[in-house]
Symmetry: C2
Amino acid sequence: YRGLADKKEINEKVDEYRKGDFDTIPDPGNLVHFKTKDALEKTPKTDVQDKGKKDKEMPPIGTYVLPHPIWTEEQLHDVQVTHKEPEGFVDKAAHKTVMLFRGGFDIFSGFKFGQRNERKWLNRICFLETVAGVPGMVAAMMRHMRSLRRMQRDQGWIHTLLEEAENERMHLLTALQLKKPSLFFRLCVIGSQGVFVTMFGVSYIISPKFCHRFVGYLEEEAVKTYTKCLEDINDGPMQHWKTQPAPDVAIRYWKLSPEATMKDVILAIRADEAHHRVVNHSLASLKKDEFNPYKPGK
Amino acid sequence: YRGLADKKEINEKVDEYRKGDFDTIPDPGNLVHFKTKDALEKTPKTDVQDKGKKDKEMPPIGTYVLPHPIWTEEQLHDVQVTHKEPEGFVDKAAHKTVMLFRGGFDIFSGFKFGQRNERKWLNRICFLETVAGVPGMVAAMMRHMRSLRRMQRDQGWIHTLLEEAENERMHLLTALQLKKPSLFFRLCVIGSQGVFVTMFGVSYIISPKFCHRFVGYLEEEAVKTYTKCLEDINDGPMQHWKTQPAPDVAIRYWKLSPEATMKDVILAIRADEAHHRVVNHSLASLKKDEFNPYKPGK
Ligand SMILES: [Fe+2]
Ligand SMILES: [Fe+2]
Ligand SMILES: [Fe+2]
Ligand SMILES: [Fe+2]
């Protein structure tokens, strides 16, 4: 079957893929076939964001995800707001940068003023998660390229960084189930991605330690933000999230119970952020050629 | 345990990691602990490229890898040199570019002239694999950023692209078990990575289709190259690879038998290249918002 890379066969295959006939892909004979048909029929399609186009055959969001931690009820409620004191110049610079970002963003987004509400929360969460997915991917690419360029092993960091990047992207795709971004919002997201990818990329070349410390402090703020969100859910303007059902994509990704609510989703996201917090603070304290202690999905 | 992100606890953790006490990492209670101790003692350490430094605690190369196809004996020998005829301008441009690269490289590397030997083969393989790891990672990052920026799902492409990138990096790390790169060689690698990352990145912004087709054609050449290498092993200047033992990292990565030889390694690499060939030709023929038909590890 390895012969199928000429024009005729590629075109035939592609036509089959378009029909959703994924099972006809040439698979190594010794591997189990993907259980599409069954799995697909059982999975609700509401979270496929393509206006019904080809919905019937398209696997739902998050069908193939990297291993990631699944939190117990106890772990979800165990998360605390913490702070790692900056030690030395790099740490201080990283902390100052995060404080500057947060201050600026609080003012620009109007989050500081007036009553918080669902619209403000969703704006804040969506925007922050479009940014949060950047560092892990940029860092993973940098280390991948470094391994190729210096012709040496990576020391097991890449998988953890990719896991973080995907996890943040899943936060975004989950929040988007409740929000339709406006044109202005989209333009802000595009602009800040351009700036942030460039800044973070250049910083990672200069000082990976600064970058991981920066993410560590960013995640301290993320935990604060989601803790505040939980306060608003428990005893504030967001109490309807105590009962509002969680989107399907969230139930699937975090293996929540079918009756899970938006509150459970926010708890899971906050636990993820606390995890990135300790991971990045640890990576910042390790030298770049030391072995990454975090295993896939942990 | 989620509280451990202050200065004292991070520093204590990092000290423990440095001792190799990875098992003390705060793990979600419901996940199995990594079986380091046992697995490590049984695994030969010869392929850890760090001159013995901390060898005792450092897991070997390829401890955490993405799912990837494991080929049967039949599949290994089934690989053929194929060619997908270019259709339309983009295809033709991609094919021309690959032909130009190959021609230039054959001359520059002196591969065209004189007798082929182990030194020439290792130079060629190492150099090409430092380049081959670039496209998958760049494409994965581009699609990840696009998903964040446009706030829409990725359609399942990222995992396949990351799998390809890691697989090529494993080809490189395997070949490096037999070669110590010279300073001149290192400078060539650094220079070409700079050029290629930039060119491929810019091309991916302009035309992902061109880029995947380009990789498809590149992999056609890779299959040719490794087929020629196998000819040299079967009946040419490389016959000692019929019996030379495979490096440990290769046995682990491709799940080869403990008696596997370098010939088995080259067969496995060639099957990987044939797989990237059909994958990239297919991705090039799909629209960028169509679902990727390839599942993890397939
Ligand atoms: Fe997040
Ligand atoms: Fe985060
Ligand atoms: Fe390769
Ligand atoms: Fe390749």
